[in-house]
Amino acid sequence: MSATFLGMPGNFPQNSALAVQDSQLRYNLRKATHTIRGKRATVVGELSDWAELRAAGKAIKDETLRHLDRYLIQLEEAVTRAGGTVHWARDAAEANRIVAGLVQATGETEVVKVKSMATQEIGLNEALAEQGITAYETDLAELIVQLGDDFPSHILVPAIHRNRAEIRDIFLDRMGDAPPDLTDEPAALAEAARLHLRERFLRSKVAISGANFMVAETGTLVVLESEGNGRMCLTLPETLISVVGIEKLLPSWRDLEVFLQLLPRSSTGERMNPYTSTWTGSVEGQDFHLVLLDNGRTDVLADEVGRQALRCIRCSACLNVCPVYERAGGHAYGSVYPGPIGAILTPQLRGMSSALDASLPYASSLCGACFEVCPVAIDIPEVLVDLRAKAPHGPAERAGMRVAGWIFNDHVRLAKAQRLAGRLRKLVPRRLPGPASAWTDTRDLPEIPAESFRDWWERDERA
């Protein structure tokens, strides 16, 4: 990954220490993660064959990765046959160059975008801006983030760190056509965004998207969404450019029967998301370009332990169960990929040369909740442990890591510390003694639940 996402400058312990001081952020995160977690558990529980779907999802992705070269060539043939054009990009700079060139060829200077993590990863909006092209985000949350000059903090609800009053202020300040009497009712805010974007959708000639899946056998791309801005972008403009990581592939059409069950239930906790669009090549006269992105993925693929991270379908279920994410927030991970998946994906994509990336494998208590909920069974703790062994730490960094590590690193000690703190709640110490004090200096101890996360998890979800 050659573009850097500058969410926060420090390493993970420093960033998360800042985040835990922000009680609004912590409140929002807690509410969001717990709500989605509960919905997910309900709809997953409805399916008697969830374990079998999960096993198949894992195997299908592993099979894809094992023969990724063959499937990519098959995909390219199918897309080309259906009238699309396929481009290959080794890294972010190459992908950005290709996309900018395609937009310039249309003569347009504005594009609409549907939420795509791949284009955030490569810093596409910024690269287009350098070429005089303005990219407008159209997801409500992305719009909030973009108008607020801000960074996404959750895969699924990127503006979860903002409350309604802040969103209203951002709209009034930055949206131009926001009604002056705009209230902070969610319905009123959504309506303002609808009106703001409608004209833009109808006018735009070029759209940029990502994709959730690509089917090698048929050349079909698949986008799941909720708001309908995806349909607007995919359908109305004359030119559609999709930038997709090479690992987003599935071998056969039939494989969608697995992933269209795994993804919505794991992600938003719905039986199905409101809209899913699929298209093959050029449809209804639209000019279609597919940009296949490597940008570090082949390096991840070369790692026997780490390559399982490429199975990820970006559902965000692992974020919603992670006790560290819940406290630290998405920005602390300094990447478009936050939470447990970010802790294993970012260091592998970018290499561990920066202090931030080298600290990410420590952003976990190794409690295993992420592995339990992952719909493609990525053993995140296993990869974390492996990355810790590989991380190149200087003496100063190691010391810093140990301080945070005392509470995060060793799950037995974490469990003990949490249970102890739970028992001592009435006394509510302001600081934990000894090596953990540096960590607790910035952490409200009353946050520690009466029941430790591990106890709760074992009782609640495994019951």
Partner: protein, 188 residues
């Protein structure tokens, strides 16, 4: 070396010697559902779409009654009796009335494939009101049965309730960019 050749070469180096994978499909690929219409109706209703279950003979009158004086897009190939008495509109239409390609009971999903009576993708997207008629025989139990029936060469739109967002403090707001009202008639 071209980017394509280089990426393919990197992949081949990366997976060299990796074990082969066997895909076991032990999940349900067919399900028995006693009352498909009822399950589908319940699941659509869960999304806060409006559902009517009526005999086929009553469909034309019900469509006319629901549409009222809204001007509607009538896609090519829509059964003529469904369109009788419906005011037609085009670019400034208030709504669209369509059939569908297949419907999924377990998830309350309607799939459009731009076939006869379903219009183009834009026609079911831009108007604010979508009235969709599902014939009981088009309902399948689960996702696998639907995927098997659909043709990947056609552009597909899977619709599960009205458009929605939960981006503001996780409060669900229905109706963002797609039609804000989805009404479904199940013709049994």
């Amino acid at each position: 070396m071209s980017a394509r050749e280089e990426i393919l070469a990197r992949i081949r180096r990366a997976v060299d010697g990796a074990p082969e994978v066997e895909i076991r499909r032990a999940y349900r690929t067919t399900s028995e559902v006693a009352d498909l219409v009822r399950l589908f109706a319940e699941r659509v209703d869960d999304y806060r779409a409006i559902v009517h279950v009526i005999p086929a003979a009553e469909v034309p009158a019900r469509i006319a009654g629901l549409v009222g004086d809204r001007r509607m897009i009538i896609p090519d190939g829509l059964p003529r009796e469904w369109a009788a008495g419906v005011p037609a509109g085009l670019h400034d239409a208030d709504g669209v009335v369509t059939g569908c390609a297949v419907a999924i009971a377990e998830t309350g999903t309607i799939v459009l494939d731009s076939g006869p009576g379903q219009g183009s993708r834009a026609q079911t997207l831009v108007p604010d009101y979508h009235l969709c008629v599902v014939r009981a025989g088009q309902i399948v139990p689960g996702v696998p049965e639907a995927v098997a029936r659909l043709d990947p060469a056609r552009p597909l739109t899977w619709i599960s309730g009205p458009s929605a967002t939960s981006d503001i403090e996780l409060n669900r707001v229905e109706g963002v960019h797609g039609p804000r009202t989805l009404e479904v008639i199940i013709s049994s």
